[in-house]
């Protein structure tokens, strides 16, 4: 499985994952997730993302490796934006390729769910001229826990 993991301070190119994953007939399916800054009815003027350099890459590599063990993937791409960005900008791209679509859908959702709860990124939003930290969502923790429970059921 080829893999590309990157923390990026520049705008993300939406066509990049598809062309990087392209393998001329090996894979039958590509699934790509792209996360964008929501403006929440124009309230959010900007977003700032910080991370823990070193740990971030390590966690993302581990998540991608785990996805590669659970599903037969041919490629996995994770690029996450940091720094100050505005509504509509891309924050994260997760894309995978596989022979069959069910594997690609599941692996892509799995990587996103674990990234959301384990990769050390933090967002703050500029609302009404004030920066405020975004709170973690309980449903993200539940989504990640669901995958880990599934895994433990399969263990002997």
């Amino acid at each position: 499985m080829k893999r590309h993991i990157e923390i990026c301070e520049r705008p993300l190119a939406s066509a990049a994952p598809a062309s990087w994953l392209h393998d001329a007939g090996l894979s039958g399916a590509q699934v790509q997730f792209c996360g964008q800054v929501r403006d929440e009815q124009g309230q959010v003027q900007a977003l700032h993302l910080e991370h823990y350099p070193g740990m971030t890459e390590r966690v993302l590599r581990a998540i991608v490796a785990q996805a590669g063990e659970k599903w037969p993937l041919n490629g996995a791409w994770v690029v996450h934006r940091i720094g100050t960005i505005t509504a509509g900008d891309d924050i994260v791209q997760v894309a995978v390729s596989a022979s069959h679509r069910q594997d690609a859908f599941q692996a892509c959702a799995f990587i996103m769910d674990l990234l959301k709860t384990r990769a050390p990124f933090w967002k703050k939003e500029l609302i009404g001229g004030h920066w405020q930290w975004v709170e973690a969502r309980e449903c993200d923790a539940e989504a990640a826990a669901a995958w880990l429970q599934q895994a433990s059921v399969h263990e002997p």
Binding site: Y52, V59, L115, K116, P120, W122, W133
Partner: protein
């Protein structure tokens, strides 16, 4: 010696992004380290008290209150992550 690192809201509350501390020998877990910090360092203590939930990483890997520590470890404390 333990190197502490703080991120996001917790870093802002502590006022620093890192801090080197030398806890006594009997401090061998994350939980004990945090209890000791709460007595030894009022700034860190009040920053942690103001942060309803936080996570810990030891040497760039996620840990838990029960994780054991060795001298030289880098212990990062931060609010629940919100990437993606």
């Amino acid at each position: 010696m333990i190197e502490l690192r703080f991120f996001a809201a917790l870093r802002e509350r502590v006022g620093h992004d890192r801090l080197s501390v030398t806890p006594p020998e009997q401090v061998t877990t994350v939980e004990q380290l945090i209890r000791w910090l709460a007595e030894d360092n009022p700034t860190v203590a009040s920053a942690l008290a103001a942060t309803p939930r936080y996570m810990v990483a030891i040497n760039e890997e996620l840990g838990s209150p029960a994780s054991t520590l060795s001298p030289g470890d880098v212990v990062a404390l931060f609010p629940p992550v919100t990437g993606g």
